[in-house]
Amino acid sequence: MKLIKKGAEADIYQTKWNNSKAILKIRKKKNYRNPSLDLKIRKQRTIKESQIISQVKLFGIPTPLVYFVNLKKALIIMQEIPGKTIHDLPELKIIELSKEIGKLVGMLHKNGVIHGDLTTSNFILFQKTVFVIDFGLSQNTIKPEDYAVDLRLIKEILNSAHAKIMEPAWNNFLIGYRSIVGNANYVKITKLVSDIESRGRYAAVI
C-alpha cells in the first residue's frame, strides 16, 4: 500500500480492491486526544462518511463508490477518482468550475444534506465531471442555518486560499447554487450567511 496523503484526520493510501485501484482511508488513533473522545469521533465520522457518500448518489451527486467499511479500525475502502482537486487547478478553471460546485452544493442542500467541510480540496475534476469527496463532517439536516454554515465555509476558503479570484468564483458559485435551490431559498440562506458573519468576532457591524 502506498501512502498518498496525510490528511487532517485520516491517512489516504492507494490499494487494490478486486483487482482495480482503490483508495483506503483510515482514521488513525490520535495520541493527543483523550482515548474515549478519540474513539467516538473516529467511529462516528466513519459511519457518517460511508453512509452519506452513498446516500447522495441517489440525487445525482458524483461520489466514489464505497467498497468496504471496517468500523473497528475506522477505515473505508472506496473507488479511486484519479483526477485533480479543484484547489490545484489554474485560477481561471477554478472560477469556471465554481458554478458547477455551487450546483452540487445546491443539490445536497435541496435534499437535506450538508457536507460540513466544503473546501476546494474536497472536489475532484475527473473526465469533465466534478466529484465530491470527504463526507466525514456531513449531516442530514433541514435547518436553513446549517446550510448557511456550509456556504460560509466555502466562502471563507475562497476568501483565504483563493483571495485573488474570490469575487468571480464566489459569484459563479452563487449563480450555480441559486439555479438549484430556487430564488426564495437562495435569498433566505444567503441572508443567514450574513447573519453568521455579523456574529463573528469584530465583524464590521452593518
Partner: protein
C-alpha cells in the same frame, strides 16, 4: 530606531521600548500593570480604563527608566488602536497623542492582533507560519497571502479565552482563569463526554460552555479536565485541517492561551504528525504587552510616515484580516 509602544486594549496597560536595527529588534523594556476584576467577575470597561489612567504615568516612567532612555530619544510612538474595549483603548491613544504632539514624534496606530503575530515572529524566528491566535479576544487560524493575513478558520461565537474565563468565573475563579483551570485539570483523567463542535475549519464553543457548566456539580476537576480536553482537541483538529490544506511547514501559536502547557503538548503532537516546526511565543510575551505594539509600529515605519493627529482614532471592532501589510 527607537520605538515606544503603548498597549491598553483590555485588562493590561503596558509600555515597551524596542530598539530596531535592520531586521532585528531588541526589547529594552516592557512594563505592565494588569487590572484584576473581583473573583467571579469579568472586566468592567470603566473600571479597567480608570485603572489604566491611574497607572499610565508610572508605567511610562518605569519603562523609560528601565530602558535607560528619555522621551526625546524616541523615533516613534505606536499605540494599540483596536480591536478592544473603547474606554481602555482611549487611554492608550490619549497617552500616545499627548507625547507625540508635545514632543513632535511620529505616531502609529497599530492593530493589536497583528501585534501578537509580528512579535511572535520576531521572538520565535518563524518565517512563513500558519498562525494560531488564541486569546480572550481572538481564536483564529491565519496564513499570510498577498499582503494580508487571511483567516483559514475561526470561532463562530466565543473565543477560547472567553470559554475558559467564563467557565472559570462560574466556579469562582478570578479572570484570567486559564492557569487555575489548567492546574485543576491536571489532577483528573476522568473524561466526561461534552459537545464537540467542529464545522469545517471553524469551531463553536458556546454549547461546550453551557454543557460544562451543567456537569460541574458532580466534580469540578473532571469538568475542568473534560473542558480542556474537548476544547483543545477541537482546536488541534482545525489546526490539522488548516495545515493539511495550506501545506505550511511551520505552526506558530500566539496569544494569552498559548501559555497553556496542555494545548502546546497537543499541538506539538499535531506538528510531529505533519512534519512541521512548532513555535510558541515565550511565556512572558504570550499575553498582551507593549512590545507587540511597539514592534509592529517599528515595522510599519519602514514603509509609512506617521499618522496625522486627526487620524489617530481608535476602532473597537478592527479585524486583522482587513489590514494591508506592505513591509
Amino acid at each position: 530606531m527607537l520605538g515606544l509602544g503603548i498597549e491598553s486594549t483590555a485588562h493590561t496597560f503596558s509600555c515597551a521600548i524596542i530598539e530596531k536595527k535592520g531586521k532585528k529588534g531588541k526589547i529594552l523594556s516592557d512594563v505592565r500593570k494588569i487590572y484584576h476584576p473581583a473573583k467571579g467577575e469579568g472586566i468592567h470597561p470603566r473600571e479597567a480604563s480608570r485603572h489604566h489612567i491611574e497607572n499610565s504615568s508610572s508605567v511610562l516612567s518605569e519603562c523609560l527608566r528601565e530602558a535607560n532612555t528619555t522621551i526625546k530619544d524616541l523615533d516613534l510612538i505606536s499605540y494599540a488602536a483596536g480591536p478592544g474595549l473603547g474606554p481602555c483603548l482611549r487611554v492608550g491613544a490619549v497617552v500616545a497623542r499627548s507625547l507625540a504632539s508635545f514632543y513632535k514624534i511620529p505616531i502609529y496606530p497599530v492593530n493589536h492582533a497583528i501585534g501578537h503575530i509580528e512579535l511572535g515572529k520576531l521572538l520565535t524566528g518563524a518565517t512563513n507560519p500558519l498562525v494560531l491566535l488564541v486569546s480572550g479576544g481572538h481564536t483564529m487560524l491565519l496564513a499570510f497571502l498577498n499582503k494580508q493575513w487571511r483567516v483559514f478558520g475561526e470561532t463562530l461565537d466565543i473565543t477560547l479565552g472567553q470559554l475558559l474565563d467564563q467557565f472559570g468565573r462560574s466556579i469562582g475563579f478570578a479572570s484570567p482563569c486559564g492557569k487555575n483551570i489548567e492546574e485543576l485539570a491536571s489532577t483528573s483523567s476522568n473524561y466526561i463526554m461534552l459537545p464537540y463542535s467542529v464545522k469545517g475549519n471553524d469551531v463553536s464553543f458556546s454549547g461546550l460552555l453551557s454543557a460544562t457548566k451543567s456537569i460541574v456539580k458532580k466534580s469540578k476537576v473532571d469538568a475542568c479536565y473534560s473542558l480542556q480536553e474537548t476544547a483543545f482537541a477541537m482546536i488541534s483538529e482545525v489546526v490539522e485541517r488548516a495545515l493539511s490544506f495550506t501545506r505550511k511547514k511551520e505552526l506558530m501559536i500566539v496569544g494569552g492561551v498559548a501559555a497553556n502547557k496542555r494545548l502546546s503538548e497537543m499541538l506539538q503532537d499535531v506538528c510531529k504528525r505533519h512534519g512541521c516546526k512548532f513555535f510558541v511565543v515565550p511565556l512572558r510575551y504570550t499575553g498582551d504587552c507593549g512590545s507587540q505594539i511597539c514592534w509592529t509600529g517599528l515595522l510599519e515605519s519602514q514603509v509609512k510616515q506617521g499618522a496625522l493627529l486627526k487620524d489617530t482614532l481608535i476602532t473597537q471592532s478592527w479585524r486583522l484580516d482587513s489590514v494591508k501589510i506592505n513591509y
